[in-house]
Each structure stands twice: as structure tokens, then as C-alpha cells.
Symmetry: D2
Subunit: 118 residues, 4 copies
């Protein structure tokens, strides 16, 4: 069985190469494009209540999935251009977060790290 994210990375790279778009795909441009897609995701959720955001209607849910997909494509492109492994980076971050947010300090309360009382 192959890895789904590696496959996607390959698919998207071929898509870009076929169109000769490599010159546009600097990490800087890709970051701007990613912010654009993050903004489109925000637009899908901005006026929903928390509950509506947890149980969106099918159309809305599909649009949210589509916008998440667009963000993922740009993430994959940045990682491919800079040659790092996206999932490894995320796992390393999770390990850091395990220490940064110890269960006994943060249980049931989610804040920015610098906002928990000492």
C-alpha cells in the first residue's frame, strides 16, 4: 500500500510541470496562495454558529472539504519545493506540543501557551 500524501505530492507536481508553472511556485507565492485558500475556508464558516459548523448541511460540508483540499495542495507544494516531509514535520511538532501543553496544566482549558497561569 502506498502513502496517500506522497501520491498527492507526486500528482500535484506533475500537474504543475505539465503546465510549466514551476517559475510561479516559489514558497513565497505559494504562501500567499495558501492564505487565499485559508481565507476561503474562513468564508465558509464565518457566519455559522459553533453548532452549525459541527453539523453543516451537505453542500456546505462539501465546500468546506473543497477549501481544505486547496489548502492541503499548497502545503504539499511548499513542502515539495523546499524538500521537507510534511507529516514528519507535523509529528515532530506534536511531540513538542506534548511537552508544551502537559495534560495536568491544560486539561479542559485551551489557551495560547503564554496565557496559562504559572
Amino acid at each position: 500500500m502506498s502513502d496517500s500524501l506522497k501520491e498527492l505530492t507526486e500528482t500535484v507536481r506533475v500537474f504543475v510541470d505539465e503546465r510549466d508553472w514551476g517559475a510561479f511556485q516559489s514558497p513565497k507565492n505559494l504562501a500567499l496562495a495558501l492564505c487565499g485558500e485559508a481565507g476561503e475556508l474562513a468564508e465558509q464558516l464565518q457566519w455559522l454558529t459553533q453548532e452549525q459548523s459541527r453539523n453543516p448541511e451537505p453542500d456546505r460540508r462539501q465546500r468546506i472539504a473543497d477549501e481544505c483540499a486547496d489548502v492541503l495542495v499548497y502545503l504539499v507544494r511548499i513542502a515539495d519545493e523546499l524538500g521537507f516531509d510534511l507529516v514528519e514535520a507535523a509529528k515532530a511538532k506534536c511531540l513538542k506540543n506534548e511537552k508544551k501543553y502537559p495534560v495536568e496544566l491544560v486539561h479542559g482549558r485551551l489557551k495560547r501557551r503564554d496565557e496559562y497561569e504559572r
Copy 2:
């Protein structure tokens, strides 16, 4: 061999559950958090030239990877909360884009779809 993104999804879900953070993890909140991380990625690249963004110094490259990791974690959380497959959504989007941006129309020129001349 297991799938790296499925593993990450599982790891992050356990992380959230152990901290009893489920109540905060509405797709709406997660989208705001994702915009926050997309913004941190932007900050890493904002003053670099295109060339510098392609060849960042090791420290910078690591910070870019870290911010991309943070965005991925929130994407994975949204998909997990709403029960869709992130990579499948991205593959479906790629298929749509194959039609939306036919090679003969867009070769060597990258624009928003509505900006190509007819």
C-alpha cells in the same frame, strides 16, 4: 505499511482527547486557528525575495516547515471532526483542476481562472 496522514489524524485526535479539548474543536474555531497558522507562515516569508524563499537558510527553512506542520494539524482536525478524507478531497480537486486549467490554455502562464482571455 500504514498511511502517514491517517496516523497523524489518529495521533492528533488522541492529543486532543487526553487534554479534554474536544469542546473547543469546532470546525469554526479550527478554521480561525488555521488562519492564525497560515498568518505565521506568511510572516516567515513576507520580506524574503522570491529567490530567498526558494533557498532559505536552515533556521528559516525549519520555521517554515514548523508553520506548515501547524497548518496541516488543523486541516487534519477539521477533516476528522467533519468526517471527510482530506487526501480524497484533494485528489477530487486535482481532477477538477485538470479540466479547469487545460494545458493548452494555461501553459507557462498562471492566473486566476477568470483572468485567462477567452
Copy 3:
């Protein structure tokens, strides 16, 4: 009495000129920087309830004001670099929105324009 936003535009321009930062202040770079500050604003609000966001504690309120200030500074810079009047642009947009969202169609319901039923 002078206009507060014109004064701010002038203050920020002098700040940039004194530091010889003009070469960095392309609208493209400024847009990335603005996305960074929008992300910092998002971070201040991401885990708050709606009610908490309406009545933040004094520290939080100050940080929200600070992040809004940062976004405004980059808006002002973009408008100054491209030579358009930010408030005039906003007033023109408001007039368009008056027509796009007629009171009788949208009263009490806020959606994206394409989501109101016909």
C-alpha cells in the same frame, strides 16, 4: 481639524522612509504582512466563545486592538503605495453592498450573497 487616517498615512510613510524600507514595501510583500497580522488577530479570538469575544478581559481587548492596529497600518501602506484613497474605496464598496444586500431580502439573516434563495 485634520483627517485621522491621512495623518496616520503620513506618519507611517515617514517611519518607512526614515528606515529606508521602501524597497520592501511592494503591495505584494505588504499583503503577505497583512495576512500575518490578520492571523495574529485570529489567534486572539480563536478559542473564545462568541460572548467572550464581545466582552473580552482588558488585556485581551488591548491585544485585539493592537492586532487591528497592525492590520490597519499595512492597509494604509498598500493604499499609499498604490495611490488610492482607502476610505473612498470603502464608501464605494458600501454603496455597492447597499444594492447587493437589499434590506427586504436579507433582514435578520447574514449569508454570502450567492447563498440567499431567489
Copy 4:
């Protein structure tokens, strides 16, 4: 002569009140909406070169101005909902930045504050 930003604040407040949209206008929702508009601004600039972003074609320039206007409207709404003065906040931030980025340290080089060598 009246102040342009105060006028805009008033105009936008009336617009919201006439539509009975107050219930949606929590700072949290407005921040998501602002991220959405920041993303639309990013989309206008993402594939342009630095030079193109400084000298956009008239259509593009108008769209950039429109997106900046949308961001400004949400900024003004957040400040109005939370009762702070946006321009005063920006001026206070400028004073802080005068000290944070002393001319002799940063002349001709723009970085994040923590990236200047000691």
C-alpha cells in the same frame, strides 16, 4: 471638516442595523470575515511579480482597492463593537515601533524584530 474614518464607522453601523445583522457581528465572527477578505487580497497579488504588484493594470488595481476596502470595513466594525479608536490604536503602535526598530539598527534591512543580530 469631519473625520473620514468616523464617518465610515457610522455608515457601516447603520448598514448593519438596518439589516438587523447585529447578532452576527461578534468580534470573533468579524475576525473570521476579515481573514476571508485578507485572503481575497492575497489572491489578487499571489502570482504577480514584485514589479507587477507595484504597477498593476487598472482592473487589478481596482480589485486590490476593493479588497482593501473590505478589510477596512471589518476592522472598523471590530473597533466599533469593542469600543476602541482604531487610529489611536495604530498611532500608539507606531510609537512602540519607533522604539522597537531604532533607525540605527534597522536602516535598509527589514526583518522580524527577533531576527536582527544583537
